[in-house]
Symmetry: C2
Subunit: 343 residues, 2 copies
Amino acid sequence: MKLDQATIKDLARELNVSSSTISRALKDYPGISDETKRKVREMAEKMNYRPNALARSLRKSQSFTIGVIIPEVVHFFFSTVISGIEEVAFSKGYNVILTQTNEKVSREKTSIDTMLANQIDGLLVSYSKETEDFEHFSRLLEKNFPIVFFDRVPKLENTLNVTVDDYQGAYAATQHLIQQGYRKIYHLAGPKYLSISTERARGYLAALEDYGIQHQPSWIIESPRGNENEAKDITTEVLKRAVPKPDAFFAHNDMAAVGAMMACRELGLKVPDQIGIVGFSDWQFCTMLEPSLSSVAQPGFQMGVRATELLLDMIDKKGNIEGPKNSIVLETELLIRKSSQKP
Amino acid sequence: MKLDQATIKDLARELNVSSSTISRALKDYPGISDETKRKVREMAEKMNYRPNALARSLRKSQSFTIGVIIPEVVHFFFSTVISGIEEVAFSKGYNVILTQTNEKVSREKTSIDTMLANQIDGLLVSYSKETEDFEHFSRLLEKNFPIVFFDRVPKLENTLNVTVDDYQGAYAATQHLIQQGYRKIYHLAGPKYLSISTERARGYLAALEDYGIQHQPSWIIESPRGNENEAKDITTEVLKRAVPKPDAFFAHNDMAAVGAMMACRELGLKVPDQIGIVGFSDWQFCTMLEPSLSSVAQPGFQMGVRATELLLDMIDKKGNIEGPKNSIVLETELLIRKSSQKP
DNA sequence: TTGTAGGCGTTATCAG
DNA sequence: CTGATAACGCCTACAA
């Protein structure tokens, strides 16, 4: 900020015209002679003029900045979403200001506060695992402040959401395992209070039902943190003690799936011969593993793109948010690799 | 921005005092009666007052916002750095505005422009692979605009950089391979114009020299994009044709190392028995592979933290940047796993 | 202890 | 076609 940027006034003084003329000339307003425009542009170039976006925002009550609140940046899926967000925002001339909550509600709240203080035009949110009370969002929604939720969406009426079809993805994964001949398919589930987890569990159960597979509630095992070590421990336990003994795992994410693979390896169980495994998210490492990990791909980049488009649309339309606000559900794609194909 | 936030004036009207009194009361200025302060605070609370950071920034010529320019968000190392940046910035009350260049200089330039227009107080940069001319940076540096470069640092005088000790890390990795008894150690190198690549190559060579290992220039093979497929193809070629035949690979990143592992697997070569492999960066998947991948860990989070601290320091000190501006070199750590330990 | 006035850089309105 | 003036919301000399 110590740049001593030239201002409109400087240009005006230099050219002996008023600052309004400069402003208009630079904005290509009607009613400015071409001659003047030319001179102004030249001088702007020469003096390396750069408009002060802050002043402009203050004057226009619009900052051309959107806020993004995300649980963690270091996360393949979320970083992919960010990439999509950034792409669209940039192409439409919007800035992105970013905070991660590290899964803390408190942080979520203060982030919203500082973002609002910075006059963001809208908000893109995937809330934290801790968030159970959505009042800090509903307060804003009531006032018609533009918010789009993605991936993790709240239990509120009339919100605009972009999600992935978790149910369908889980169904497809489970169906695939069944078709490969696996029967005792256990599910490594995510935390119950996230809709993505419950949807995945629901899809899993529906597939079992549809194919008439007898199952028990104990086949669903929660792996709340969803990292490989936790999942490995849990899976090891299950493989040692559970009745009936599982012959496949459908994990709610890839890390958990890897944990299961590691457990199998240690116990000398062959994947996919003895145990089939399917993950969720299609993280980069799936193809690097041996055997390569089948997984349900989520279009993270697309999610970012669509959510941002939706948000910018709302912002453009200002108050007149007529017509149905349509949430978006994106398709998943089951990528079948070695870990789930019986020889 | 359609929030109809209460302003200082609104509070003033409500309480029948002047707006300066409000401003001072809220800021806990000396010379305001406790009584007034109390009343103002209450009213602020009641009216849900939130200061307009834009107006404040405009007035104070400081935005409390820093810009971050990064090649890609979807990248384990960079996202880790972002996480560190975000952490420090948040704790010191700074906003982070983020853009990715997707390795394009043009995007780098326009991003800088819009960020400057938004009056950022300073800039954190890891430049794109395309960037060969640093004028868009040096122009700013000349005017004493605060910039800290991280990971990829320019060939300019007097810049503040935060890097990892690539040379040392590469040396340690190579030394380790030698000590394990590998002799024909090839290097999968990154693009020549990035200092991180050349430093890693230098460290590799130094280790070979120090241990008196005869080698040839052809042992260094460039894998510019550094993804697993490219590296796999290259490695396959080398394993089939090169003389002498390699018995180990030190890769400039983990993706390339994985590519090498895949190539070995396909050719029926056992890792680590016949071929030793070490990567660089310690991505999450290293521990998930079989065999697990040895790698040189880079402290990404720390890099973000230190770079941001350095930048905020500069910003605080405004013009008086006395004393030596000290760049920071962070230590790496060689994590020895199965892929490089001869049985 | 409080109020007045001016300005940060831009743009919108109203004249000329 | 161009200029003067006010205002966006906040801060801060200077006065009272």
